[in-house]
């Protein structure tokens, strides 16, 4: 069974604080993704990575950065949080098959920025 874990289920931060969200997968997947989910907007891709130290911007990368130092870990960094970053953050991973493949998701982190 594929397992994708996220470091926290719930986080509450104040505006301007730095936040690290960590994601770990145990299936040796090449691809890892960070999404945010907001009501009425669905899932929107923030960043993804297809290999260690590689990263690609998704649809909404502004205000975020990522780090992938090891194949199994993909971190999302919010350098200086703002209230509009209050959201559900979801990590996912998949094999590289030369095309789209099933993505496996973690349980999500509900971030509230006050």
């Amino acid at each position: 069974d594929v397992k994708v874990t996220q470091s926290s289920r719930y986080l509450v931060k104040r505006t301007g604080e730095k936040v690290f969200l960590e994601c770990v997968q145990d299936m040796d997947h090449e691809n890892m993704f960070w999404y945010r989910q907001d009501p009425g907007l669905g899932l929107r891709l923030i960043y993804f990575s297809y290999d260690v130290k590689m990263k690609e911007k998704g649809d909404i990368p502004e205000g975020y950065s990522v780090s992938r130092e090891k194949k199994e870990r993909f971190s999302l960094i919010l350098e200086s949080t703002s209230t509009n970053q209050t959201s559900m953050y979801l990590c996912a991973s998949s094999f590289w098959t030369g095309g789209p493949d099933t993505q496996y998701f973690g349980p999500g982190t509900r971030l509230t920025v006050l």
């Binding site: 994708v4 289920r9 691809n31 993704f33 999404y35 009425g40 907007l41 669905g42 899932l43 929107r44 891709l45 993804f48 297809y50 690609e56 998704g58 649809d59 979801l90 996912a92 998949s94 590289w96 030369g98 095309g99 789209p100 493949d101 099933t102 993505q103 496996y104 998701f105 973690g106 349980p107 999500g108």
Partner: protein
């Protein structure tokens, strides 16, 4: 610019009847489509997929239909069960063999409620 649209935010269906969830897309380069199901406080889980070389794919109670000319796909659940109550997302991608094409574009989701 919403390239994948689910125009019904919610849907209620009687247990045992058919549930039909719809999804429209605008990007003609999309040729691979997936449906995900999400329960509260959990991540989405993969349900079923279809590539553009097919117009139908079936897996148990779940069938996905693809109408390429209309840029429309639908998910049919027959018979609907209370455990099917969840948010359903459709997603689309391109099949090109190239780094960067593994990403999915998701719709806004439809909350399905099955009434016992």
């Amino acid at each position: 610019d919403q390239q994948v649209k689910q125009n019904s935010p919610s849907l209620s269906v009687q247990e045992g009847r058919i549930s039909i969830l719809n999804c429209d897309y605008t990007n003609s380069m999309f040729d691979y489509f997936l449906w995900y199901k999400k329960y509260p406080a959990e991540g989405p889980t993969f349900l079923i997929s279809i590539s553009s070389i097919k117009d139908k794919n079936e897996d148990g109670r779940f069938t996905v239909f693809l109408n390429k000319s209309a840029k429309h796909l639908s998910l049919h659940i027959v018979p609907s069960q209370p455990g099917d109550s969840a948010v359903y997302f459709c997603a689309a991608s391109e099949m090109m063999i190239n780094f960067g094409n593994e990403k999915l574009t998701f719709g806004t989701g439809t909350r399905l409620t099955i009434i016992p």
